[in-house]
Amino acid sequence: MAFSNMSLGGQIQKASLKGRVRGSESSAKSITFLILLWLGLLIAFSVLLVLIVTTLLDGYTRLDARIFTNYPSANPEKAGLRPAILGSLWVIGTVAVLTIPLGVAAALHLEEFANKHNRFNRFIELNVQNLAAVPSIVYGLLALGTLTLIGVKEKNIVLGGAVALSMLVLPVIVISTREALRAVPMEIRQGSLALGATPLQTAFRQTLPSAVPGIATGSILALSRALGEAAPLLVLGALVFVRFDPNGLLSGYTTMPIQIFNWTSRPQPEFHVLAAAASIVLLAILIAMNAVAIIIRNRYQRRW
């Protein structure tokens, strides 16, 4: 072998270990890259910060009991968000009841039972991904068309809005549930099957319960997205001036984003303050929902 003139290491080297290694963390390249990363984070964070701070500054003067107890009014001093808060709760509650069982069932089928080599199943899988990216207004139009087709005259009802938002939320729930199911290790399923449990028993008694924290987190995040939506509901003709509490699935309603939209389009500056105050309420609810999702994730997260 012709190794005679080459040094392949193994010899005693006199050079010091001190000094920088090229490409190490303290090299110019690495530092530049790190600065760029920080800059990206800074931009995203400052946009959020500016948004929250300006909204708070605009709206805090009007953030009092009236906003929670009063009905909308032509007089900005008396106007409140009460029916919109209740309407949002009704709609999101209905969406949750409609989508979570359906989405979890669809995900369970796709992940645990469907033959992954079947072309039809792969087509469905791909399209669930696509559906999650469809703009919300398209779902509004779809719901509008469907309700017209089945002869529903009053489309500005809680159920109609919930159906439109459900279509928006369903693919997201399917995707996040599939991810939660996929995170359950294969060994758990094998252990159950090796005892003679059926695939159905294994899915319902082992895999699904183990995935519940992940499913809950994903569902809450999906619902919080629906909570902020206005477009599909406006297409359905959701009311913008509601002076009663919604009291059922067939009741007329308004939601917080719609009320905010309405107030911002009024000419009087007092209504703009009111819109900012309502935005603070909406943001607080969204942050609370996301916090619950994070708490569930951290608390019940399993390290396998």
Partner: protein, 276 residues
């Protein structure tokens, strides 16, 4: 280094007295790839049979084909006969779930369910619709049988994840015997455990042998020598035309014979550490 069969169980008959499980020309495929070729062997009732051999020799694949766990792998296919008391496991009318109720399995990595210790044991009897007069008694009996009762009796309601690796693996063995199978397959059950935990599992296997038939895949030759009544040595053969490797059974005999006087040169090379 030579390994001597330490159980020196001279009472092991030349041939299994009761053949409980038999393989006849068993071939296992993953798609087009043939992982195991033409295995013929019989497992004796209330005996411990070890499957040894280098990596990729198909011993784990063969083990999984014995209770149809291979069915769960996409594209896996078993040809030939695997018979339990003379009945083919791969018959069209046989439900793999029924097979797994009679032939249980313990895996390489302890895989307790994310439930309490109690529920880990009770899960099998519950899903199988067994109606023990008292589930508490069944759990206690099972854990006692698996030599785990004294260590866990005060924390039955606690998560099984709180147990040590060795305890988890004994829990998995207990969970398997709770549904009263005839045969327990073990796929390298000690490979993730320290020597003390390993030795406790081996003691347990020797005790369970009174009531169960055990087939164990192991990379640890000393382990085979210590616990097995019979040992089968597998190796991988390379097809000269296609270059594919496939697992074949080289030699199957009493453990004492395999470790002290193997008849095949390849077996001798493997157990003396010259190959594999």
């Amino acid at each position: 280094m030579t390994i001597h069969a330490m159980n020196s169980n001279l009472s092991v008959p030349e041939q299994p007295a009761q053949r409980i499980l038999e393989c006849e020309k068993v071939n296992v495929f993953y798609g087009d790839y043939r992982a195991v070729t033409d295995v013929n062997m019989a497992f004796g009732q209330n005996e411990i049979t070890a499957l040894i051999g280098p990596s990729g020799c198909g011993k784990s694949t063969l083990l999984r084909s014995l209770n149809r766990m291979n069915d769960l792998i996409d594209g896996a296919r078993t040809e030939g006969l695997v018979t339990l008391h003379g009945e083919n496991l791969y018959d069209k009318e046989v439900d793999p779930i029924a097979v797994r109720r009679r032939i249980g399995m313990v895996f390489q990595k302890p895989n307790p369910f994310p439930k309490s210790i109690y529920d880990n044991i009770a899960y099998g009897p519950r899903v199988l619709g067994m109606k023990p007069s008292s589930m508490d008694d069944l759990v206690e009996e099972t854990l006692t049988r698996a030599a785990l009762w004294d260590e866990v009796k005060d924390k039955l309601k606690q998560s099984a994840f709180g147990l040590s690796g060795g305890q988890q693996q004994r829990l998995c063995i207990a969970r398997t015997i709770a549904v009263q199978p005839e045969i327990i397959l073990m796929d390298e059950p000690c490979s993730a455990l320290d020597p003390i935990a390993t030795s406790r599992i081996e003691d347990l296997m020797r005790e369970l042998r009174e009531d169960y038939t055990i087939v164990i895949v192991t990379h640890n030759m000393q382990q085979a020598a210590r616990v097995a009544d019979r040992t089968a040595f597998f190796t991988a053969l390379q097809d000269e035309t296609t270059g594919n490797r496939t697992g074949v059974l080289v030699e199957y005999d009493k453990t004492t014979k395999i470790f002290e006087d193997p008849s095949d040169q390849r077996t001798e090379d493997y157990i003396s550490g010259r190959f594999g």
